[in-house]
Each structure stands twice: as structure tokens, then as C-alpha cells.
């Protein structure tokens, strides 16, 4: 017995020693990479092709990005290859850990702070030739600790989507499209019948936050330095939503058996919904027979308000050809490229100079782009995604909950992130 124990000890000792030796080998590569600050020269090893990693919404998007990248590759002479990630976050994380990340990739506002703070990202925003053309609110969504990190790829805002046939059936006309909270409550009531609810939306911050914006509130200040979650404005916004829920004229999509607002709307379980640009694709493919109108969201006590959602083209700090990547991004965010993307798979161009062309090409969707003037971004400090998912969890029981208490907890959690 004694002898067996000592054998075990030796065995374990060997294993540990082996592990340490191997890990020591592993650390060799760790010293190689150094953080690329915005002040440094961009790397420009054009012998190495660019890898582009995207999280695609479908074949249309993949084909469109592929074509645009191939066109750039042809004119610039640099190889470029597009891969579609099945799980973007995971594949990005693996690339960064191995210090062989994709050169250019989609990056969400949620993920920005995490990667920016650990030095994975190149803060190239100020080097962009078309820097001033981006909407300022989008630029601030991708600004972390004062640095403009990456070029907004495109964006979406929330609008009020109205079912034309149910609208007419209820005896409503274009003049009745709600422009204030009271009007929204009134038409929701008119549209609520035994088989449908007036307004359905996802029970989450990404939808209900629009009400907070209309009341003049937001979770954090524009520059993400101050937490304003439990302001009186936010409470008013949530309490308005609470009233609609309790009056039975508004429901969460999940309560009426739909996965999201668009599904509830398409299945005609609701006559109106609050969704973003992406609903147009879903309506076209899943519910082609439903006629709908897109209107701007009604104004609250503090005027109009909506939320915007956006992604950017991230460039890795470890990329051997940052200059090439930057050139590619400039090309991909140019007016022509963005208008083509928009035509092929639907998002709105992130640059002001493309607005007029987009509006004339999409006359029925103008309300979405009009929202850009007063849209607010979602918080992008590190850990904010956790706080909003906690908020979403609490919003699921908003009907019986206490708006002030919910927002107080958000205030506490967000403040903890700034410490």
C-alpha cells in the first residue's frame, strides 16, 4: 500500500512537471505580441491575405459581403477571404486567445468594451477617411474611453409597425397613426379584440427602452460615464408600458405564444408591434400576405425617442496587415457599398451622405431612418450586457413589478461597473 502511494505521488509529480514544461513553451508565443496603440504605425504586411469573419443573417448577406470583399481584393491586389461564423463571439475569443484572430470582423456594441479593454482591438476610427460622415450617435456607440474604435457597419432603429388590414377593419385611417402616448394607448385599445391584442412587443430592454427614451431617459449618459438608470424619466417610461400591459392593450410576444414581436405581428396575434428594420426580411419570407406600414414611434412627454442597434467592422490589433484592413473597411463603409448591402439584405447605411439615396430607394421604410435623428444607443461599458440581461429578466414580470425598484437595481449594477 505504502509503495503504491509513493508511485502515485511520483506519477502526479511527473504530470505536473510535464504540464509546467508545456505551459512554459506556450508562454513563448505570449511575449511576442504587443498592444497596438492608436498612436503607433499600422502594420502593413500585404503578403498575408486578410481573413474576414462575419456573423451572417443568411445567404443573401453572405453572398453580398463576399462580392464586396472580392471586388476590393481585385482592385487592391490583396487576398481576402470571408468566413461565416457559427458562433461569432466564441470564434473571436478563440482567435484572440491564440493571437491569430481574423483581421476584420463584425463586432457588436456589447462586445466592444471587453475586447477594447484587453487590447484586442485596433482603435482605427480616427484614421478613417470618411470618419465625419458617420452618424454621431453611432460613433459614440463605438467609442470606448475616448477612442473611436471601429467603423459602424450599418444600423437599425425601432419603429411602429402597423397591420394595414386590421387597422382599416377597426375603422382607423392614416390620420389616426399615433403621435403621442395617449394616442398610442387609444388606438391599441381600439385594435384589441378577442383574437388579437393591439400592440405586442418583446418584453426586454431593447424594446421597452424606447418608452424610456420618449420620456427623456436613458440608462447611461451619452458618453457612458454617468449612470442615469433610476431617473424619474425612466420610471415614467416603464410605468407607461406597465399601464398598457395591465389594461390588456399591450402584450409581450411570449405571452401570446410568439417568439418575438415580428412573429406575433405576422401571425396577426397583434395589430401593431415595435420592431427594427430586420422585421422587413422576416415579413417578406415568412408572412408575405400581411400588409403593413412602418411609422415613427409616438412621442412621449419629452418628445420622440427610439433605440438604435448597430455593429461595426472590428480590426484586430494582432493583424499583420492593419493598413490593408483599414482600406477594406473604408471600402465596405463607402456610400456605394452600403447602399448595395442595404438593397441586398436590408440594414440602413451608417453614413449621412447615403441617407437621401436610401430614402428614395425605400420610400415605405423612411420612418426607420427618420428615427436616426433622435435614436439613443444602448450602454457599451464592459459588463453592460450582463446588466441589461438582468434588467430583461426583471422586465418579464413588469406587469406586477415595481418600475422604481427594477430601475434602482439597474442603477446599482451599472454603477458597480464604473468603479
Amino acid at each position: 500500500m505504502q509503495r503504491r502511494n509513493s508511485r502515485w505521488l511520483i506519477g502526479t509529480g511527473l504530470a505536473v512537471a510535464g504540464a509546467l514544461t508545456l505551459s512554459a513553451c506556450g508562454s513563448g508565443s505570449g511575449f511576442g505580441g504587443d498592444t497596438a496603440d492608436s498612436g503607433e504605425e499600422l502594420t502593413s504586411d500585404s503578403t498575408q491575405g486578410l481573413n474576414i469573419l462575419i456573423g451572417s443573417s443568411g445567404d443573401a448577406e453572405t453572398a453580398s459581403v463576399n462580392a464586396a470583399v472580392a471586388a476590393w481584393s481585385e482592385t487592391s491586389g490583396t487576398d481576402a477571404k470571408v468566413s461565416v461564423a457559427s458562433d461569432l463571439n466564441q470564434q473571436l475569443a478563440q482567435g484572440f486567445a491564440a493571437q491569430k484572430p481574423a483581421d476584420v470582423f463584425y463586432l457588436s456594441t456589447d462586445a466592444l468594451a471587453g475586447y477594447a479593454s484587453n487590447g484586442s482591438l485596433l482603435a482605427y476610427g480616427d484614421d478613417l477617411a470618411n470618419k465625419d460622415d458617420f452618424y454621431p450617435s453611432l460613433v459614440s456607440s463605438f467609442t470606448y474611453e475616448g477612442d473611436f474604435y471601429c467603423a459602424p457597419k450599418d444600423f437599425s432603429t425601432l419603429g411602429l409597425i402597423i397591420n394595414d388590414d386590421l387597422w382599416a377593419q377597426a375603422g382607423l385611417t392614416d390620420a389616426d397613426i399615433p403621435t403621442t402616448w395617449d394616442e398610442l394607448a387609444a388606438v391599441s385599445k381600439t385594435l384589441t379584440t378577442d383574437s388579437q391584442v393591439g400592440l405586442a412587443l418583446g418584453g426586454e430592454y431593447a424594446r421597452l427602452g424606447a418608452f424610456m427614451a420618449q420620456a427623456g431617459g436613458s440608462l447611461m449618459s451619452e458618453d457612458n460615464t454617468e449612470v442615469t438608470a433610476n431617473s424619474a424619466e425612466n420610471v415614467a417610461g416603464l410605468e407607461y408600458a406597465q399601464t398598457l400591459l395591465n389594461d390588456g392593450v399591450m402584450s409581450y410576444a411570449s405571452e401570446i405564444g410568439a417568439g418575438w414581436g415580428g412573429e406575433a405581428f405576422g401571425k396577426q396575434l397583434s395589430a401593431m408591434t415595435i420592431e427594427g428594420n430586420w422585421i422587413t426580411g422576416a415579413m417578406k419570407s415568412d408572412f408575405p400576405d400581411v400588409n403593413y406600414t412602418v411609422a415613427e414611434l409616438p412621442a412621449g412627454p419629452e418628445g420622440q425617442g427610439t433605440l438604435q442597434f448597430t455593429n461595426c467592422w472590428g480590426i484586430a490589433a494582432d493583424s499583420p496587415n492593419q493598413a490593408g484592413a483599414l482600406e477594406l473597411v473604408e471600402q465596405l463603409t463607402s456610400k456605394d457599398a452600403q447602399l448595395t448591402f442595404s438593397e441586398e439584405f436590408g440594414p440602413m447605411p451608417s453614413i449621412k451622405s447615403a441617407a437621401e439615396d436610401w430614402k428614395s430607394a425605400n420610400p415605405t421604410l423612411v420612418a426607420f431612418l427618420d428615427g436616426a435623428d433622435y435614436a439613443k444607443g444602448v450602454p457599451n461599458v464592459q459588463g453592460a450586457a450582463d446588466v441589461t440581461s438582468d434588467l430583461n429578466a426583471q422586465l418579464e414580470s413588469l406587469k406586477t413589478g415595481d418600475a422604481q425598484a427594477i430601475l434602482d437595481s439597474v442603477q446599482k449594477n451599472l454603477e458597480a461597473l464604473l468603479k
Partner: protein, 364 residues
């Protein structure tokens, strides 16, 4: 033949055996070491470091932060602690309901399909085993359809006049709902006022949410088949003569099962419970494909939280720390139930009749 020569030759043989023993096991040791032991040790280091996901965790910029990652989870007072507490609460209820149910059900099924008189035994064995060989992702998707608000399960419930819940979107706790039916809406101040791991005792006692209950049913459905197989194998290994002897002594079917068959199944029972516990504490795929922790974080589990902390929040140290706390929990539970199921000496009180019987038989 002289004795010393013999021992010398023998030790030679033994020496060769040791070397070839190592040689034969070397591929496995290297494989396990490379892909299991070393990654585990690396993760252990990460859980004590401030590595943030960029470059090697052993590079010079990563430093040792002691128990910081662990203390944020078990005493930080912030969102991390609250999420971890919620995840543990959810998973504890899951384990509490899944493990006993699946063990009992699989034993029952095994006994049923092991009976000689059952016609079409092969069919039933295959049918019960089928869910286990299907991928958990496919079953999760199936479950999402079955348990949707207007899905088959609710249609069936409506048929018998029950208004089914909105399964995967219902965050309310089952125990809370039962208490609510008796008019208890809020808990006593002693429970609501005091917290453990960031959530109040009243929340700990919420029971699994309705959404989690659907996952519990799914786990029982998918794993019972596997464990049934283990029990069948064990049942077929039992020799018939012991049961026959019990029969001769006049034990009825019920007694034979509880007093004769079940005690002989103890090693298998240990295996099933251990595997069940480990599987239930590590539940991940269902959550990842099904609900991602929602509704209201009531299907969040430590395994999923660990993934989320690392991959979406870049809090790699915290993610690794969650994984190691989970490891400790599983080991503790396994040791506990091993102690519970250990073979004990039969107590004197129970032994007495057997000790006395030869004397009473002799006096006759």
C-alpha cells in the same frame, strides 16, 4: 536451484513488466495528459489570474490575483454573485428533481422489460433507449415545439380541461405557484429579508421555474433509457438461486424486490446516481440551444454561466472559477452519496434472529 538465483531472475522479469506496462499505457497517459490534465491545470491557473482572453494566459502581462475571481462569485455583493447564486439555485432544484426521478424510473423500466413473460421485450428496450441515442440538441428543439404556448402538450392539457402554462416563457417558481394557490404571495420577512449568495431565501425556495420544469421532464425522458440499460445488465447478472431461495422462504414479489434484488444492485445504483449527479450538475447543451438562461434567468446554470462569463463577457478568470466551484460541488456530492450507499455491517439487532436460529433449530 539456489534461492538467490531464483529471486534475481524473478526481479528481472518484473523489471521488464514494469517497463512494458508503462510503454503500453504511455499513449493513453500522453493523450489524457495533453488533452485533459494540462488543460485542467491551465484553467486552474486562469481562475487565479486576471487573464482577459488575449494571447497566452502564461504571458508576462497576466498576473496572479489570488482568490479575487472566487470571492467576486461567493461574496462580491454584485451582479456576479447574484447570477452565480441564481444559477446554483436553479441547478440545485434541477438535480434534486432529476436524479431521484430518473433513477427510480430507469429501475422501474429495467425491471419491467427484464421480465420473462413480457412479449416484444426487444421492442420496448429499443423504444426506451431511443431518446438516449438522439442528440440532445435535436431533443431540445423537439421540446421547444412540444412545450410552446400553443404546442402539443398544452393542446393535450386543454383536452382534459387544464389551461397549460406558457412553458418556456414562464419564469415563476413552481413552489411559489403552489403556495400562491393557497394565498401565500410573499414570504415571511425572515426569508425575504436575508440573502445567501445574493438572492433571498424566499427566492431559493421558489422551486424550479415552469421553464426549468420542462427541462427536468426532458432530462428524465432522455436519460432514463441509458440508466435502464445499466440496470438491465445488473439484473441479468444476478443469479437466480438467491431469488429462488427467497421464494422458498415464502417472500412475495414485493419483498423479493426490496429485500433481495435491490440490495444486490447497490453497486449499479451507485454508478447510476453518480453519473446522474454529474450529468445533472453539468447541464449545458439544453440551455445553450433552448433558452440561454431565460426566462428571468431561471434556467441559468453554473455551466452555462461559466461559458457566458468567459466567451461573451471576457471574464475568463471568473468563468474558470465557476467551473472549479462546480467541480468541488460535484465531488462533494459524490463523496456524500458514496458514504450514504456504503456497505455497512449489519446491526446487532438485525443480526440477532440469524444468530439465534441455529440454537433454536438444534433444540427441536
Amino acid at each position: 536451484m539456489s534461492t538467490p538465483a531464483r529471486t534475481a531472475r524473478r526481479s528481472n522479469i518484473r523489471g521488464g513488466e514494469t517497463a512494458s506496462g508503462w510503454l503500453f499505457t504511455a499513449p493513453m497517459i500522453i493523450l489524457l495528459g495533453l488533452f485533459l490534465v494540462i488543460p485542467v491545470l491551465m484553467a486552474l491557473w486562469v481562475s487565479f489570474s486576471d487573464w482577459n482572453g488575449r494571447g497566452s494566459p502564461f504571458s508576462g502581462t497576466v498576473s496572479f490575483v489570488g482568490l479575487d475571481n472566487y470571492s467576486a462569485l461567493v461574496g462580491g455583493g454584485g451582479l456576479a454573485e447574484q447570477d452565480f447564486g441564481t444559477a446554483l439555485r436553479n441547478n440545485a432544484w434541477y438535480v434534486l428533481l432529476v436524479v431521484p426521478t430518473q433513477t427510480m424510473l430507469s429501475l422501474l423500466l429495467a425491471v419491467l422489460v427484464n421480465r420473462q413473460i413480457l412479449r416484444g421485450r426487444g421492442f420496448f428496450r429499443t423504444a426506451f433507449y431511443f431518446p438516449s441515442v438522439t442528440s440532445s440538441v435535436a431533443i431540445t428543439v423537439l421540446w421547444l415545439f412540444l412545450f410552446s404556448a400553443s404546442g402539443a402538450v398544452n393542446k393535450l392539457l386543454a383536452f382534459i380541461g387544464v389551461n397549460g402554462p406558457n412553458w418556456f416563457n414562464d419564469p415563476s417558481g413552481v413552489l411559489h405557484n403552489i403556495l400562491g394557490a393557497f394565498g401565500v404571495e410573499t414570504g415571511p420577512a425572515a426569508l425575504t429579508g436575508n440573502t445567501f449568495l445574493g438572492i433571498s431565501f424566499w427566492e431559493w425556495l421558489a422551486g424550479p421555474s415552469v421553464a426549468m420544469s420542462a427541462f427536468i421532464l426532458m432530462a428524465v425522458f432522455t436519460t432514463s433509457g441509458t440508466f435502464m440499460l445499466l440496470f438491465i445488465a445488473a439484473l441479468q447478472n444476478l443469479s437466480g438461486d438467491v431469488v429462488e431461495a427467497a421464494m422458498m422462504d415464502g417472500a412475495n414479489g414485493w419483498q423479493r424486490f426490496w429485500r433481495v434484488t435491490l440490495p444486490q444492485l447497490r453497486p449499479t445504483l451507485f454508478t447510476v446516481l453518480t453519473l446522474g449527479l454529474i450529468g445533472a450538475w453539468q447541464v449545458f447543451d439544453q440551455i445553450y440551444t433552448g433558452t440561454q438562461g431565460g426566462p428571468g434567468k431561471t434556467t441559468l446554470t453554473p455551466a452555462y454561466l461559466s461559458y457566458q462569463a468567459a466567451f461573451t463577457n471576457q471574464a475568463w478568470g471568473q468563468g474558470a472559477a465557476i467551473a472549479f466551484i462546480l467541480f468541488v460541488i460535484i465531488v462533494a456530492f459524490t463523496l456524500f452519496q458514496r458514504a450514504l450507499l456504503a456497505e455497512r455491517k449489519v446491526s446487532n439487532r438485525r443480526m440477532r434472529p440469524y444468530l439465534q436460529s441455529p440454537t433454536s433449530g438444534g433444540s427441536k
